[in-house]
């Protein structure tokens, strides 16, 4: 993998994805082998939005590689509160860190920030745009549970604003997959994502469904995302729609025994907790995979930065 920054899954080829996933598998199997690999390396965390899993798993990943983190902290306690631009903030913090992780509410924030820094920058979510490191751990989880080729996947929930969906759908075009998109009409994939899917594969079929029932029996993987209240004009409308995209044990009676259920988390009530202890549930494993996958990404990007010691 040779990239200065990781902004979107669109920049990754199948070979790039496999390089990351293979590296993650090696690290997962023997994390001690890389415990001192990036000593004295500092990772700058810039989270302009709340985060639990992404932020903590990046922190854990860097520390398990022997490095440490410097954290901008909350917006309230930073210069952002004084009106500092993102461009200035990243230029300052690149002087403190060997790589940066950025989460920001504005779409395109990571693209713009990457134009102002020389250290590797990883996009940890930019508004309704992309979330490529989540995609990599999603792919890792799918590969572990169902394989990435000859795969039928259903992606359900908020497809319009869900950045994990946008990144995942594109990354899957690298593989032999059939993607089904299940959502209310108002939360369909944005036309920009549809455009990109067709650019990636001119024969890409955008299979959109109102109901999970239509496709559930055929699925190897069901990727569930949260439908957020604020996307709807009133509570009643939200309750009506959200209720149709919740799954429980009864829902799964029509599913394959081998169905893998994933969710980027946090969930609210999309997946009934009664499913947590079934063989279907992979969402906690998925969250745990964030560490070895982000270790792999950091290792590859930081090794590139040091002259490509892995690639030559």
């Amino acid at each position: 993998m040779r990239h200065d920054h990781l902004i979107t899954s669109k920049q990754l080829s199948r070979a790039d994805v496999e390089t990351v996933l293979d590296r993650a598998a090696e690290i997962d199997a023997d994390p001690d082998a890389v415990a001192d690999r990036h000593t004295n390396t500092l990772l700058g965390l810039l989270f302009f939005e709340p985060s639990t899993r992404t932020k903590m798993s990046f922190e854990t990943a860097m520390k398990r590689l022997g490095g440490d983190i410097v954290d901008m902290g909350s917006i309230e306690s930073s210069s952002v509160k004084k009106g500092e631009t993102l461009a200035d903030t990243v230029r300052v913090i690149e002087g403190y860190a060997d790589a940066l992780v950025l989460r920001h509410p504005k779409q395109g924030a990571a693209t713009m920030a990457s134009e102002f820094v020389d250290v590797p920058l990883l996009n940890a979510g930019d508004g309704a745009g992309h979330h490529p490191t989540q995609t990599m751990l999603d792919l890792y989880t799918i590969r572990e549970n169902a394989g990435l080729d000859d795969l039928t996947i259903g992606i359900m929930g908020d497809l319009k604003y869900g950045r994990t969906v946008h990144s995942l759908a594109h990354a899957l075009t690298n593989f032999d997959t059939r993607q089904h998109f299940i959502s209310p009409e108002s939360l369909r994939l944005p036309r920009e994502v549809v455009y990109d899917l067709h650019q990636a594969d001119e024969n890409a079929a955008i299979r959109e469904h109102d109901s999970l029932e239509d496709v559930l029996p055929s699925l190897d993987v069901l990727y569930v995302t949260r439908i957020q209240r604020e996307r709807f004009p009133d509570e009643q409308e939200y309750q009506k729609v959200a209720g149709e995209y919740q799954i429980d044990a009864e829902t799964l009676e029509a599913a394959s025994d081998d169905l893998t259920i994933m969710h980027p988390l946090p969930r609210v009530d999309e997946i009934d907790p009664e499913i947590d202890d079934t063989e279907h549930a992979a969402y906690f494993e998925q969250a745990h995979n964030g560490v070895p996958v982000r270790m792999a990404l950091l290792d590859l990007l930081l090794s590139d930065e040091r002259g490509g010691e892995d690639d030559e």
């Binding site: 631009t85 993102l86 461009a87 920001h104 509410p105 504005k106 779409q107 395109g108 924030a109 693209t111 713009m112 134009e115 930019d126 508004g127 309704a128 745009g129 036309r191 920009e192 455009y195 990109d196």
Partner: protein
């Protein structure tokens, strides 16, 4: 012959119509650029795209909704004392794809070409997505990739196919 529009032997009808109209409404220029065959009603957007508003003393002539064989109604913009480069005028293809550019020196047309769609336009359009980083007071110019049927913000990736003229950053 002293004006570019009088020289179009391939568009006699157009020339007949515009000759009279120009002579009446749009003065000839000595040195500068004539942008012809702009779609009717887009002349002011052409000036906005080029960042020309007359505030720096530029001598401008604008003809709007002039009869034209090819476009039915067209606009013409003449800019005295400034020769626009191909890069500058290519951006006009977004709103004036039929435009022709005539470079005039000492009343003679010395260069004539059409606009070509550029791959990228920078600092010309504002992104309509309020969630785009370029709308947030950052020190960055807007940048749009030009698609076959529209433009796409290079930052937030929003695609705009209709109403591009309304995005011109004035």
């Amino acid at each position: 012959m002293s004006d570019d529009s009088d020289r179009r032997d391939d568009e006699a009808g157009d020339a007949r119509n515009t000759r009279e109209d120009h002579q009446l409404r749009v003065s000839k220029i000595r040195d500068g650029t004539v942008i012809d065959h702009v779609r009717g009603g887009q002349a002011l957007n052409v000036l906005a795209i080029l960042g020309i508003d007359g505030s720096e003393g530029e001598e401008l002539s604008v003809g709007m909704n002039v009869p034209s064989d090819r476009l039915a109604r067209k606009d013409i913009v003449k800019v005295e004392g400034r020769e626009l480069s191909q890069d500058e005028v290519d951006v006009l293809s977004l709103i004036a794809p039929d435009a022709t550019i005539n470079i005039v020196r000492d009343y003679e047309v010395i260069e004539k070409h059409r606009v070509e769609r550029p791959e990228v336009v920078e600092g010309v359009l504002s992104c309509p997505n309020s969630g785009c980083i370029t709308t947030g007071g950052e020190p960055v110019s807007s940048r749009f990739d030009v698609l076959s049927d529209g433009v796409r913000c290079a930052y937030c990736e929003t695609i705009v196919r209709d109403g591009i003229a309304a995005l011109i950053d004035t």
